[in-house]
């Protein structure tokens, strides 16, 4: 055998031993059935199932033995290179299919990790997307996960590209520049639906315009696009009184970005996404009006992108109450009637339930401890009682900020409440869980002339600061009644979100504590501090019948929220996997 042929043989053998251990095609049918018994060991999409319930039926780890959880293995992840805003955030949910795990780092690079041994995570490949890790880029680095479709692992990048990597080899299968305008890009996980990949333009605090696009899963070619800020003349454009502001182009930088992956109902072929705040967030006089479709749930036909309905939670917002967070789809009985509903833990501190086929408001309840921005929600319309549709500038109960006015204190904090931190729902008990921040903030307007607005650059229109101690909580809500059934308060804001299994709720903390909680009482069952900040949600999977819980940890970044002890935490991107041995 010549040296060259020996090398070829060795290379082939190595490739087989590392990457060739196999993967199953992730067909559209498997994705629809992601919640079935056949897929119980897996986690095939970012929110596990199209209903975004983040519920796993795995119950080997339960309330009786969760106290025995311990570390199974850990894997360092890369992507620590900073942007102009420092090191990025680990916010992705690991996906698992048949013993292979898929995670992304803050630059969106996909990793395939063999977790079949249960004792070690072996990285098989890191897909080289060609992302330029420019240390001057004015982007807040974060990536919230990947999508599996067919033979591909798909990532959406902060530079506006969507890249498909071959599952077997990690080589790029296709690479498209989906977002082309200044400042546009992606941080949320793509959603694979049928033969399409849905991606939401994510940079909403920058001077950009939000949109959701469907790409052909085979080629990346764009099939349809829905803009979340209508252009003049389109339905909804009457809610952008740009002429009144003396800035006729204010809609072009109106925000309403989609930076958390939406849900999908196969029965009606409808996809549901939450939208971000209007931009600039603190200067409503720059963009008078209700600002549709900011701070809304939008329901779109998945084939055409046609808008079926919308529900706007905080019209004419000036408190940064994005409603990008999870859209929980559930079938429940409300007032004796079987209803197909959509529930959403609002960043504005209110837990809403809507009819998901019509968008009609059903009920709501406050879930944060302190809330002063509204006196309440109109039981007929679901709108804040202060909302006056005849006004171009709203005044909510905590007061209004305007050019030249004093700052106001409002609760919850601009961060929420529940923000992008994933929520969960246990269909067996009818209980929904939300984890988030408890506290208030002080906000003020800073006027910026229209000619000074630079497309694609951060555009807040004001300032903010925490105005109280910032803590956290997990709240359990009965979806049928909208009653709070349990609450666990925590010393730090919770930016991790929750995973729910039949008996246990899991969540991480900014201080590096990973915990398990009783799903009924939310009393702590177990915790360990591993020292990496948790801004990513936990997930669970099984290999050979054994259950594991996984979570990504990374930098705390600018999220110490006044807790000085968090500011000294150092940066390290890690995958942590726990099990009961």
């Amino acid at each position: 055998m010549t040296t060259r042929s020996r090398l070829a043989t060795l290379t082939a053998l190595t490739a087989v031993s590392l990457a060739g251990a196999g993967f199953a095609q992730v067909t559209p049918e498997r994705l629809v059935a992601a919640g079935s018994e056949e897929e119980a060991a897996n986690w095939l999409m970012v929110h596990r199932t199209y209903d975004s319930n983040r519920f796993s039926p795995l119950n080997e780890i339960n309330a009786s033995n969760a106290a025995d959880l311990s570390l199974a293995f850990a894997v360092p992840i890369g992507g620590l290179e900073p942007s102009g805003f420092g090191a990025g955030y680990m916010e992705a949910t690991p996906l698992v299919d048949n013993g292979f795990m898929y995670v992304s780092d803050p630059w969106g690079s996909p990793y395939k990790i063999d977790v079949t041994s249960g004792t070690k995570g072996q990285i098989l490949w890191v897909c080289d997307t060609g992302i330029e890790k420019d240390p001057t880029a004015g982007v807040l680095l974060a990536n919230r996960g990947l999508a599996l479709h067919g033979d591909n692992v798909i990532t959406a990048l902060n530079d506006g590209r969507v890249v498909a990597c071959n599952n077997e080899t990690g080589e790029v299968a296709w690479d498209v520049q989906a977002a082309t305008e200044p400042g546009e890009g992606f941080t949320s996980a793509p959603l694979a639906v049928g033969d399409k990949i849905l991606v939401g333009q994510s940079y909403g605090d920058w001077a950009t315009r939000g949109w959701l696009a469907a790409l052909d899963a085979a080629t990346g070619e764009e099939v349809w696009r829905f803009f979340t800020v209508p252009e003049p003349g389109q339905p909804g454009s009457e809610t952008w009184l740009c002429e009144e502001s003396g800035n006729p182009d204010c809609w072009k930088t109106g925000g309403a970005a989609l930076w958390v992956t939406g849900s999908y109902d196969p029965e009606t072929n409808t996809t549901y996404w939450g939208t971000g705040n209007p931009v600039p967030m603190f200067d409503p006089e720059f963009r008078p009006g209700d600002n549709l479709y900011s701070n809304s749930t939008i329901a779109l036909d998945a084939d055409t992108g046609e808008l079926k309905w919308h529900f706007q939670y905080t019209p004419g917002d000036y408190m940064d109450y994005d409603e990008v967070g999870i859209q929980l789809l559930m079938d429940v009985t409300v007032d004796g009637e079987e209803r197909k509903v959509l529930s959403h833990f609002g960043r504005n501190g209110i837990f809403y339930t809507l009819d998901r086929n019509s968008g009609a408001y059903i009920q709501s309840a406050q879930y944060v401890t302190e809330l002063n921005w509204t006196e309440g929600i109109d039981p007929k319309t679901g709108m804040p009682v202060e909302y006056d549709p005849s006004k171009s500038l709203q005044t909510y109960a905590a007061g209004v900020i305007s050019r030249g006015s004093d700052p106001i204190d409002h609760c919850p904090h601009i961060t929420g409440g529940v923000n992008y931190y994933p929520t969960a729902y246990n269909p067996e008990t009818g209980i929904a869980y939300g984890a988030g921040q408890e506290g208030c903030s002080e906000i003020a307007t800073q006027e910026m002339a229209a000619e000074d607005v630079m497309p694609g650059v951060i555009f807040l229109g004001g300032t903010y600061a925490g105005s109280s101690e910032q803590t956290g909580s997990i709240t359990a809500m009965d979806v049928t009644t909208s009653e709070q059934v349990a609450k666990q308060n925590m010393p730090y804001p919770n930016h991790s979100g929750v995973l729910v299994t039949p008996e246990v709720v899991y969540s991480g903390s900014l201080d590096g504590t990973m915990g398990a909680y009783d799903a009924t009482t939310l009393e702590p069952l177990w915790s360990v501090n591993v020292g990496t900040s948790f801004r990513a949600p936990p997930m669970t999977y099984a290999v050979d019948g054994k259950q594991y819980v996984a979570i990504l940890g990374g930098p705390v970044g600018g999220n110490a929220n006044g807790h000085e002890e968090l500011e000294s935490m150092q940066q390290s991107n890690m995958l942590w996997v726990f099990a009961v041995n």
Binding site: E132, T136, Q446, G456
Partner: protein, 169 residues
């Protein structure tokens, strides 16, 4: 002297107008603008709030309180050095001298003179030489400039393709 937030705000103009009497003057008062730019960019974390252009806007971190527009500052060299050294109590501007508030070199006050909530914040610290170097950089290359330009931006980052400059193309 015990200083509340409101009182600190009232003191601010007075502080800025105070003569600098106790600056450590051992260092050469004429700084090096090139080194000052390096400190501004890579040591002092100044860009987080003031932005690369030092205008309080361009490249300011999403999570940072926007800093003042140094292109339009009325402070002279002594005033700039004092604010860099001591920060501005009652505002997010932190102090950058390791010796700040040790003696009476910062507004004649010590950290104990402030309410807990209003204590001057500690920023990235550096030596008196580098404080003078930052002042030299601001005076020779920043103060008096108008709106930032693409050329200025790429020169600042020493990279003609710096992503931070794309919006100025």
């Amino acid at each position: 002297m015990h200083v509340t937030r409101a009182a600190a705000a009232m003191l601010l103009p007075f502080m800025l107008a105070m003569p600098v009497t106790t600056v450590a003057q051992a260092a050469d008062p004429v700084g090096d603008p090139a080194r000052g730019k390096t400190v501004f960019r890579s040591v002092g974390d100044c860009m987080r709030c003031h932005g690369w252009a030092a205008d309080g806007r361009s490249g300011v971190h999403l999570r940072a309180p926007p800093g003042s527009n140094l292109r339009e500052t009325a402070l002279d060299a002594e005033g700039l050095a004092e604010v860099i050294r001591c920060g501005l109590p009652g505002t997010p501007m932190p102090y950058h001298s390791r010796q700040a508030y040790d003696g009476d070199g910062c507004y004649g006050m010590s950290l104990d003179d402030f309410d807990a909530d209003d204590k001057p914040k500690r920023g990235k610290t550096f030596g008196d030489d580098d404080i003078q170097n930052v002042v030299a950089y601001l005076q020779s290359e920043v103060i008096g400039l108008g709106k930032p330009t693409f050329e200025e931006c790429t020169a600042f980052f020493e990279n003609p393709a710096a992503a931070a400059c794309n919006s100025l193309r």
